[in-house]
């Protein structure tokens, strides 16, 4: 597996960041309805692909992408985290795209990546099962090769943006070991059920497969390592999103603390608030440092990358959850109101901490990796 993208010059990062921030601000949806996660508005999604090329950043140029690297993708997730946008980014470019690239399967890449890059295809990866374990040893979902192609049966759950996806990559066990398959959710034998999500800015689905027709993307020789690389990439992307979310929470808190007057003074002049904000900054910058280091290590395929991603995800999860909670506290009753943005970050932070394994799950892995 190679990372052959060309990295932007860091001087161009600020520009990319501004462009992304402006775009997300422009297409920020109105407050999500309470009863369900809103369906994806495909207009802005296509515009994002066409105007910004976000979905194709990681996709090599020969398949319609920009051939950039995880460094640029990290920026996208920081900005998406700030904006709290319900775009299916984590599924499509955080999971499915690296999975396809890591498969090394030229046919699959040629078939699926151009659609991802041009925004016409939303894709996701279904690996977790109803028990909710993000790093299981084996899967109950089984894949069988038949004369007319593969068939896959089983139940996947907590599938990110499963209800929106045009392509579902399914991880399953076959007689010869773990495989990764492409499933078209509109085929017979596939049932996609929306799950009511705590974080209404990211939809979740259960995908039930009954002898569903499937195409092999990675066989037993490749699938386990491809999955590991995909998860490392997704951890870095999610950590970047958490950094962006934490940054936004701190920004809101500081803004409010400067403006809001109580007892005749801006509340930010009280040490209780000022020191809380200072501690938030310390946590945010620590998380950012860990996330950036993890990104570099995954990018360079460094031997310590599993340690770095586990550290980043574990720390950034708790950082964002804490900052989102502090942001509510600093805003007082307003922070607790439905109309205001703060609670949506808190829900995003709560759910993001669980996705791809809890902070404790990652620390348990770290204890092994560090030989403690």
């Amino acid at each position: 597996m190679t990372v052959d993208g060309a990295r932007l010059d860091p001087s161009e990062y600020d520009e990319l960041r501004q462009v992304l921030r402006a775009f997300f601000a422009r297409c920020q949806p109105s407050e999500p309805p309470a009863e369900h996660t809103p369906p994806l508005d495909r207009g802005p999604w296509l515009r994002m692909a066409r105007e910004l090329g976000v979905q194709g950043l990681l996709v090599p140029e020969r398949w319609g992408g920009a051939g950039a690297t995880l460094a640029e993708v990290g920026l996208v997730f920081e900005e998406a985290g700030r904006a709290l946008h319900p775009f299916p980014l984590l599924s499509t470019i955080g999971l499915a795209t690296p999975a396809l690239l890591a498969s090394g399967n030229e046919v699959a890449m040629k078939r699926y990546l151009p659609g991802i890059a041009d925004g016409s295809r939303v894709a996701t990866l279904a690996f977790v099962e109803p028990a909710g374990r993000w790093n299981p040893g084996s899967y109950d979902t089984t894949a069988v090769a038949r004369a007319d192609g593969w068939q896959v049966s089983g139940v996947k759950d907590y599938v990110l943006d499963g209800g929106e996806a045009d392509l579902v990559l399914v991880v399953a066990d076959s007689a010869d070991g773990q495989v990764m398959l492409a499933v078209d959710p509109r085929q017979p034998g596939v049932r996609v059920i929306d799950r009511p999500a705590l974080d209404r800015s990211r939809s979740l689905a259960r995908v039930e497969l009954e002898a569903a027709p499937a195409t092999l993307v990675a066989g037993p020789g490749r699938a386990p390592e491809a999955l590991r690389h995909t998860v490392d990439t997704a951890l870095v992307c999610l950590a970047a999103e958490q950094v962006g979310g934490g940054e936004r929470c701190l920004e809101m808190s500081v803004g409010h603390a400067r403006e809001r007057v109580q007892f005749g003074r801006p509340i930010g002049s009280f040490q209780a608030i000022k020191h809380r904000c200072a501690d938030m900054l310390v946590e945010l910058e620590s998380g950012r440092a860990l996330q950036r280091a993890a990104l570099e290590q995954v990018l360079h395929h460094s031997p310590d990358r599993h340690i770095a991603t586990a550290m980043a995800k574990s720390f950034c999860s708790e950082m964002f959850r804490h900052l989102a909670a502090e942001n509510i506290q600093i805003h007082g009753a307003m922070g607790f109101s439905w109309e205001f943005e703060a609670h949506r970050h808190y829900k995003r932070a709560t759910a993001a901490a669980v996705l791809f394994g809890s902070p404790l799950d990652h620390r348990l892995r770290l204890a092994e990796l560090l030989d403690y």
Binding site: E35, Y158, R195, F263, S337, V354
Partner: protein, 391 residues
């Protein structure tokens, strides 16, 4: 209970125990309508034993009410906190009415309040004055025999179902700060009172905005003097902290029991998680012990700053307990039922209670005085540390 047996040597205690026994004999809880029972309880002076005789009380030390509640609770009778949905009125506003109001006001308000016929709300906070009452802007202007009220309140619990409200309004100018405030009883059903529900983190509307547009309040409905509002507010807030902090005995234990249930459903009992749970169990025990002590120590009409201690502890504890609950749910924590708009009294359990309580617990350190304000109160009023200089 050790308390009862120790203190029963005391003639007041014996009197109260006898009255409770009579009440339970004449109105067996199992076969008596709740409202009827509560009226009988009020008439025997067992509503607030510390209140004057004939006004729901017996003029006895307030801590005897704890005994009354324990005995009634043991006999299956309705208890204030659990059955009335009027904790605000019964726990906070009633003591302020007795302390600052007139006997004719006691007669008019206490009995319907206690038996649940009239729900009360407390109209204090405003958009520009959350924790800082001295910045209130709602105005009351005397016009003949009426006060005319204009302004907006916010974060008002239960306003949507309240019959009466205790309103804090400014009778002086803005510069008079806390000195120019008055407390009024207002009729929440008056068309000049506009109640708009405020939806919160979990979709529920515990709170409301309340607008007053030339509401006329008879001068007789002023509580105390036109500049006594600040004192009324302090009485209410001290009681509020006892009430929010303390709530019913074992509030902490209840939250803990909920998450222990989730924990015991888990297949793997991770030792790190288990240790967190043990720590929460210890803190819960400490909080419940402290709270029971605070309830016993309460003197007549005079809850001290200990209520702030209990409120601070419980709000942190409940946040910690439900965070543990969410972590124990693992991936199930990703799911939630409905965020549909609802009033809290409409709530039907839907299997996502941990998630809902987790979200809602964030408000525990905000409502009824933020944890920051509680720490100020503890630092200044309990420990005697100097106040912040006024800018």
């Amino acid at each position: 209970m050790a308390t009862v047996s120790t203190a029963a040597s005391d003639p007041d205690m014996r009197r109260v125990v006898t009255l409770v026994e009579e009440l339970l004999r004449e109105f067996p809880p199992a076969t008596t309508d709740t409202t009827e029972f509560l009226k009988a309880q009020f008439d025997r002076g067992l509503a607030w034993v510390q209140f004057p005789a004939g006004r729901g009380g017996l003029g006895l030390p307030r801590n005897l009410q704890v005994t009354v509640q324990e005995l009634l609770s043991a006999a299956g009778a309705p208890t204030m906190d659990h059955y009335l949905g009027n904790a605000l009125g019964v726990g906070m506003i009633a003591p302020a009415l007795v302390r600052h109001g007139r006997p004719d006001q006691w007669d008019a308000y206490l009995r319907p309040m206690f038996c649940g016929e009239e729900i009360w709300c407390q109209l204090f906070s405003e958009p520009a004055a959350g924790s800082d009452l001295s910045a209130l802007r709602t105005r009351a202007v005397l016009d003949g025999d009426d006060w005319v009220i204009n302004g907006q309140k916010i974060w008002t619990t239960a306003a949507h179902r309240a019959g009466r409200g205790l309103l804090m309004a400014r009778t002086g100018d803005l510069e008079s700060r806390h000195r120019g405030l008055a407390a009024f009883v207002v009729d929440m059903r008056d068309p000049r009172v506009d109640v708009r529900p405020l939806r919160q983190i979990d979709g529920s509307a515990h709170l409301n905005e309340v607008y007053f547009d030339d509401l006329r309040v008879p001068a007789a409905d002023l509580i105390g003097a036109p500049d006594e509002g600040w004192q009324v507010a302090i009485t209410i807030m001290m009681n509020e902290r006892v009430s929010i902090g303390g709530g019913s005995a074992g509030e902490g234990s209840q939250a803990l029991a909920e998450v222990v249930e989730v924990w015991r459903r888990r297949e793997d009992r991770d030792p790190v998680m288990r240790d967190r749970l043990v720590q929460l169990a210890i803190k819960t025990r400490a909080a419940d012990l402290l709270n029971r002590k605070a309830a016993r120590d309460l003197a007549v009409d005079n809850p001290g700053p200990e209520g702030s201690l209990a409120k601070l502890i419980y709000s942190q504890l409940k946040q910690g307990v439900y965070e543990f609950g969410m972590d124990a749910l693992d991936s199930e924590a990703l799911l939630f039922g409905s965020y549909a708009f609802h009033h809290p009294e409409d709530h039907v359990p839907d299997g996502f209670e941990i998630q809902r309580h987790y979200l809602f617990a964030r408000g525990d350190s905000i409502g009824g005085g933020t944890s920051e304000v509680m720490r100020n109160v503890i630092g200044e009023r309990v420990l005697g540390l100097p106040k912040e200089p006024r800018p």
